[in-house]
Amino acid sequence: MPSTLDPESAPGIAELGLWATVLRTDCVRMLAVAKSGHLDSSLSAADIVAALFYRVLRHDPKDPSWADRDRFVLSKGHAAPILYAALARHGYFPLADLMGLRKIGEHLQGHPDMGRTPGVEVSTGSLGQGLSMSLGVALAMDLDGREDQRVYCLMSDGDCQEGQSWEAATAACHFADRGGRRLTAIVDYNHLQTDGTTEQVMDIGDMRGKFAAFGWDSVEIDGHDMAAIVDALEATRGADRPAAIVCQTRKGRGVASMEGRFGFHGKPPTPEQAVEALEELEAKLASQMAELQLTRRGEEH
């Protein structure tokens, strides 16, 4: 288990990429069994979530309520499977629980529920509320006089269409000195939503420019370039104002049949699609493993 507490043992870029693939396979399995849920939304965010949970976030799975931990808020709550996969892989709850997704009597709800699932910081699922919730967490960190502690909020295109997100964006800057500076908003800008492309449905345009206009420290990166993700996330630590990382992503990333394509939102894979997706991801995993061993061997010599 890679520790995110010890910088010495922090996984490198290649290893993070591998974990992202592992999380993707978990999502495919979960959704195939649940026969319900948002697969492509989860795959889109896999690289970002892997970078956070395996490297950037300071958290302790053995002590989910550790007071000094960073917080992760999944504003796009419908991508719950990717969060559940990351939590299970870190031991917040048994991996086997993933197979109970969306079933009656099980704790893994369709959308994250802080009252049921260890490691879920706040319940989400109604778009547009996550950034305000994250700001509240950040303000509380200042009130508690905490040192370098941060809140990472993962948002979607739909989140950015909700007016409340821009109320939060305004307030985060206004309250920068009182906690707002602790906020990192990550936009999973995959240009697809329920009814079509964002350009067709409701174009949100230049997200980097919009956050910048609201006073945020704002960058735009390729949301599947692991080195860029890690760099951008790590650069926000210690910032004196809230930071936005606009990630250009592809919905369904890693599964060729859905990647970047409209028509899969909220649709679970059929058994055949799931098998095909798993074969593709397992092949990817094998090549990532081989690559990792090569780099490790290279380091030894």
Binding site: R102, K103, I104, G110, H111, S126, T194, D195, M202
Partner: protein, 330 residues
């Protein structure tokens, strides 16, 4: 397609009837918030793209835009999930639509817990209460596809703001064809003499099934009343039924606070008090599971209704002979 004997979702009837309205009336416009396939407004959007506005995930914006359209002579139909139509946009609906008494139709799909797997965040169980409390807002909960088709068509001719609640799952029909009218809003679907089962929405076909059970298992004759218009409620039909049977069970896919049960209880309390038991959601949120598993989990079933009716019937002999005056030995 109008009229069908097959199980179908009430939201499908909305989509089909909205399309018909669009063909007949140029001032009908439709709005949605990135859920147009789920709510079925996409059918209208495909045929009338120039009269369709998808605002993205921005429900508050949608309601206030609808206010502006209606204030300028259009007849807007706004669709999204019940949770977002009422919860997210309450103030926008309140001031812009209800207070101004504008003919905006809020077509709220995925009401209740039967939407299933999405879980508590999406399962709206207090929308009827919220919309009933709002001045000038009518609240309409059709029982099946055919009735949903009728209420959507009829909404055009009414000038009041309306909240229309539709559901996600396909459910059996209780009307063999699209009814000719909604009348005063409540229908006696089955006559009976021992107990009134007063239901709305997805609970109506279950109430009919409960009546069958009560008849065959207990020899009890249950009357089934479908209350489609919850506000303003058809108090005469409700009163006639409870005066006849002397005891009632209400059934709704909603909190037992503020919805159908309270509407019926208010009528009864003032004009003909009888014991009224409620089937619905207690002080709790929904959970993830299949739609049917969720209904089962919260007792929103024919068995749940029949069991409550049995409890209510136990009370009947006691309360039907109340001491009307002080006994003279006191």
């Amino acid at each position: 397609m109008a009229g069908s004997g097959e199980p179908s979702a009430t939201r499908n009837a909305y989509g089909a009837a909205l399309l018909e309205l669009g063909r007949d009336h140029a001032e009908v416009v439709a709005l949605d918030a990135d859920l147009s396939v789920s709510t079925q407004s996409a059918k209208f959007g495909a045929e009338f793209p120039d009269r369709f506005f998808n605002v993205g995930a921005a429900e508050a914006n949608m309601m206030s835009i609808a206010c502006g359209l209606a204030a300028t002579g259009k007849r807007p139909y706004c669709s999204t999930f019940a949770i977002f139509a009422t919860g997210r946009a309450y103030d926008q609906v309140r001031l812009g639509i209800a207070h101004n008494e504008l003919p905006v139709r809020i077509a709220a799909s995925h009401g209740g817990v039967s939407l299933g797997e999405d879980g508590a965040s999406h399962q709206m169980i207090e929308d009827i209460a919220l919309m009933r409390a709002m001045p000038r807002m009518q609240v309409i909960v059709p029982a099946d596809y055919n009735q949903a088709y009728r209420v959507t068509l009829d909404s055009y001719t009414d000038d009041a703001p309306q909240y229309l609640r539709f559901g996600r799952p396909a459910t059996p029909v209780v009307y063999d064809e699209v009814p000719a009218e909604i009348g005063d809003g409540a229908d006696v679907l089955r006559e009976g003499s021992d107990v009134s089962l007063i239901a709305c929405g997805h609970m109506v076909w279950r109430a009919l099934e409960a009546a069958d059970r009560l008849q065959s298992e207990d020899g009890v004759s249950a009357e089934v009343v479908n209350v489609c218009v919850i506000k303003p409620i058809d108090s005469q039909t409700v009163l006639d039924s409870i005066a006849k049977t002397g005891v009632a069970v209400t059934a709704e896919e909603h909190r037992i606070v503020g919805g159908l049960s309270d509407a019926v209880r208010q009528v009864a309390a003032e004009r003909h008090p009888v014991p009224i038991f409620a089937v619905g959601m207690g002080d709790e949120f929904g959970v993830s599971g299949t739609g049917e598993a969720c209904m089962e989990h919260f007792g929103l079933t024919a068995r749940g209704i029949a069991d409550r009716a049995r409890e209510a019937l136990l009370l009947k002999p006691i309360v039907s002979h109340p001491p009307l005056h002080r006994p003279d030995w006191i």
